[in-house]
Structure formats: structure tokens, C-alpha cells
Symmetry: D2
């Protein structure tokens, strides 16, 4: 398992007239969580695209437990529970407010796609290498 | 069952640098689908809010099968399969492109909430009444 | 002069907790107005991009006179007052609500850019041809 | 004069198929800039709303000089050049990329509005007090 936490402050633009964050905007928070999760491994999604791999989302599941509000500093926890065996990777996301209340949970599944061929491909080798220590049997931290 | 189709043209703002609609924007399409579904029954979500009932989303599941692209005139099919027994209502959404290819499916679950009490409540009686013919046993259309 | 009107219904996603359309969302309405303005001339912005011309925005001025609200069917009037002499084109936009009250005015200036060279270019000849009748001295309609 | 710098990382959601930040999204960057500008003075826009004052935008002017791109860490400089005499306040914004190139300039004018009366009002006294040192004649920093 490898997880990483990112903080984001809720923008006015992200609220709606229910005085809470619009439900569609959590997809952006999850995206930011994944981008920082990758960066924490010494890699970036930007570099991955430049090297010819894209990661379109194929599935998303979200549970909205409590609303997020304007100006709250929310924490997006991004978790990889299993190393991808093939072309598919699934991230779990949890969004917490400043009082550490769980607001939202999400699971986002993406494919690794080669820009050159348009076909499914495997996770880049160096990203997989960075992750391997966190998924070995005797990993203790 | 009661279903209603709405058409939306994809905006440039809704695309991302993958040259497709950003995955988070489908929540807006589903919202538009539900708003027009309610309007087709002679009611509006706006009126419902003015009468003191709000419908926050509590759950969303989306499958992204094919991408939608800029300027496509997409059709959002919004389906209610079961009359809500209590405070919870679940809509199914299907998004099609102009070639009638299925692009995306979604299931969005919402609660009816009383603004006055902040508590869960039932579907407004007149909306339920409009829907009843479509869910009776001998409904033939 | 050539003008064209487009109607858009305000989405819940476009409101903020001030119960009005977020000020940043008018740029999308103006974009929709320009896209339909071009389509009304038998052309599309999508085709223009496919033919190798892009139109990035270089300047925008907006005045917010009255707020737009959720579910309002607003009209976006898009006006070209002068044929572009060179690579620059300026559109005027006016947004009206259902009571025909003027809500917002905008002026958006764009460049014609060749994708191949990355340099400024002229308006496509066939689009200019479609517009010429509306800008001739003896135009009577 | 009082200015404050805020950094924001460009989200994938904020790009469009021109591979740059969509022009309408700068309004959000400016909003974030203003929110952090106020916070730097020991105040928040959230508190201001809770105390019954809202700040709708009445005018915006933006010049797009160079595009911002995905994953860039941009700096939003927010500048108040003059203390508001009445109900109107004008902020200047400048957006820079990591190479300190100026990408965008903006001027956003807002009103102070009392929620209770719906009418224009003055800047809250304690916010004005925090600003006064930066606008006195003998201010040297």
C-alpha cells in the first residue's frame, strides 16, 4: 500500500447555491490527489504524458457523506492498495475537513494508454520500481 | 419506469488536453439530464427548492466507455426505474453521441432533504403523483 | 454588423453560494455564443481547428450589471461590429434573462493562429465570404 | 499599495484541447489571489460574509499574454493600489509562471454589499484599519 495526503482550499467557484461544494467538483480534488501522489514518488503525470502514456479514467465511484464548505482546507488522501498487474490501476480517495471528519470517499479506475498506438499498456517501469518497496511482503513502515 | 432525453452540445471549456471531455464534467451533464427529466413532468427542481426541499447527491457511479468530444451534440438519457419508497431516489443516466454510440453510464443517488428541518423527507406529493401512471402495473405506453 | 442569439439554461453547477452564477462562468456563455454565431454562418469552430486555425482569446472585458440565477433561460447575443482587417477579431456579447433584462456585457478579442506555424494568420477566406454581405454598404436587412 | 502573492498548481481539469488553461479559468485564479490577499491581513472573505457583507464582482478586464500549462506552479500577484473611498474596490492581478514570465494581467472591481439591506456599503472598518499602514504617506517598505 502507498498513500499520500494533499491539501486543497475550497474555492468560491467550487460552491453552489446549496452553500456546499458541487458534487461534480470532487473529481478535480481526486485528480489533484493523484497528481501529488505521483509527484511524491519522484515522478509526474506531466512527464508520463510527455513520454507517451496517458491515463484516461474508466470508472469512478463516489460516496458523499458530509459536505465540504467554502474556504475549508480539505485533505485528500490518495491510496494505492494493489500494484497494477496489467493496464488498469485503481486509486482510493478519502477527503477530510480540518476537524478530520471524513467527507467523501472515492474510487477512481484508470487505464495506461500508449499515445503512439492508442492501445492499453503497462505502468511505466520506473514508476513501478518506485512503488515496489511499498508492496513487498516484508515492508514494515 | 419513466425516462427523458436531453441534448447538450459539448463546450470547449469542458474539454481537457486529452482532447476529450474531462471526466469530472459528466456530473454536470447528469444534473442537466435530471433537471429536464423533472421539467418534462411539469415540475422544476427550482420550484422544489423554493418549496423547501433540496436534493443533495449522496452517491455517484460512472463508467466511461468512449470519450465525448468538442462540439458533439450528446444525448443524456435519464431514467427512473423505481419510485422512491422513502427519502432516497436513484437515477440512471446514459450518454450517447450523434452516432448513437453509448459513451457513458451513470447512477446518481440523491436524498430529499427538508430545508426547514435539515432532515430527510419524502418526495413531494405532486411530483410522485405525476410519476405514478408510469409505474402502475397496467401502464402500457 | 452580424449578430446571432443563442439560449442557454443556467446549470446548478454554475451557481455559487451567493445564489447567482459565478462571475467566471460567463466566459463559457460567451464561448457558446461565439460557437453558435459561427455555426449560423454555415461554418463551425471545430472545422476551423481541423483545418489548422485556432482562436486563442487575448483580451476579455466584462461588466456584470445584474446576476443570472439557477434555471434561468438566458439569451447570449453575439455581435461582430467590424470585419477583421488582420489577425484580430473582437466580439461583443450581451446576456439577457427571460424578462429581457440586460445582465452582462462582454467584449472578447481573439487572434487567428495557424497551428502549423504557430503564427498569426488571417480569418479563413470562406468565413470572411459568408460575412461580407452583412458588412457591405448597401446591406439592407 | 498592498500586494500579496499566492501560488496555485494548474489542474488537468483547467486545461482545454488547445493544451493550455481555458481562458475562463483565470477568474478562479484571481478569486484565490484575493482570498489569500485578505487572509494575509488577518481576515477572511468567509468571515466577511458571516458578518453580513458580500463582494459581488461588477467588472473584470483580462489580458492573456502567454498561456499557462498543465502542472505549472503559477504565482498570482494581487495588488490593491488605492484604498476604496466608497463601496467599490479594484484589485489588480498578475499571473506568472515558474520562469517568472508574465502570463496574464487582470483588473477585477467588486462592490461591498450588505446582505441585510441588499445595498452598497463601505469596506469593513477592521479590514480598512489593517490596510491603512500600507497607504499612509510615510510608509517606507
Amino acid at each position: 500500500m502507498y498513500e499520500y495526503n494533499t491539501m486543497v482550499r475550497v474555492r468560491y467557484a467550487e460552491t453552489d447555491q446549496m452553500n456546499i461544494v458541487y458534487y461534480g467538483n470532487y473529481a478535480q480534488y481526486f485528480e489533484v490527489g493523484r497528481a501529488e501522489w505521483i509527484r511524491s514518488l519522484g515522478y509526474t503525470y506531466k512527464k508520463m504524458e510527455e513520454m507517451g502514456i496517458r491515463m484516461p479514467v474508466v470508472k469512478m465511484e463516489v460516496k458523499f457523506l458530509r459536505p465540504a464548505q467554502y474556504d475549508e482546507l480539505i485533505t485528500i488522501k490518495t491510496i494505492l492498495k494493489e500494484l497494477p498487474a496489467e493496464h488498469e490501476i485503481a486509486f482510493h480517495h478519502e477527503v477530510y475537513n480540518e476537524k478530520e471528519k471524513l467527507l467523501t470517499t472515492g474510487k477512481v479506475t484508470l487505464y495506461f494508454i500508449s499515445v503512439a498506438t492508442g492501445k492499453r499498456t503497462a505502468m511505466p517501469a520506473n514508476l513501478k520500481l518506485s512503488l515496489t518497496p511499498f508492496f513487498s511482503d516484508d515492508h514494515t513502515s
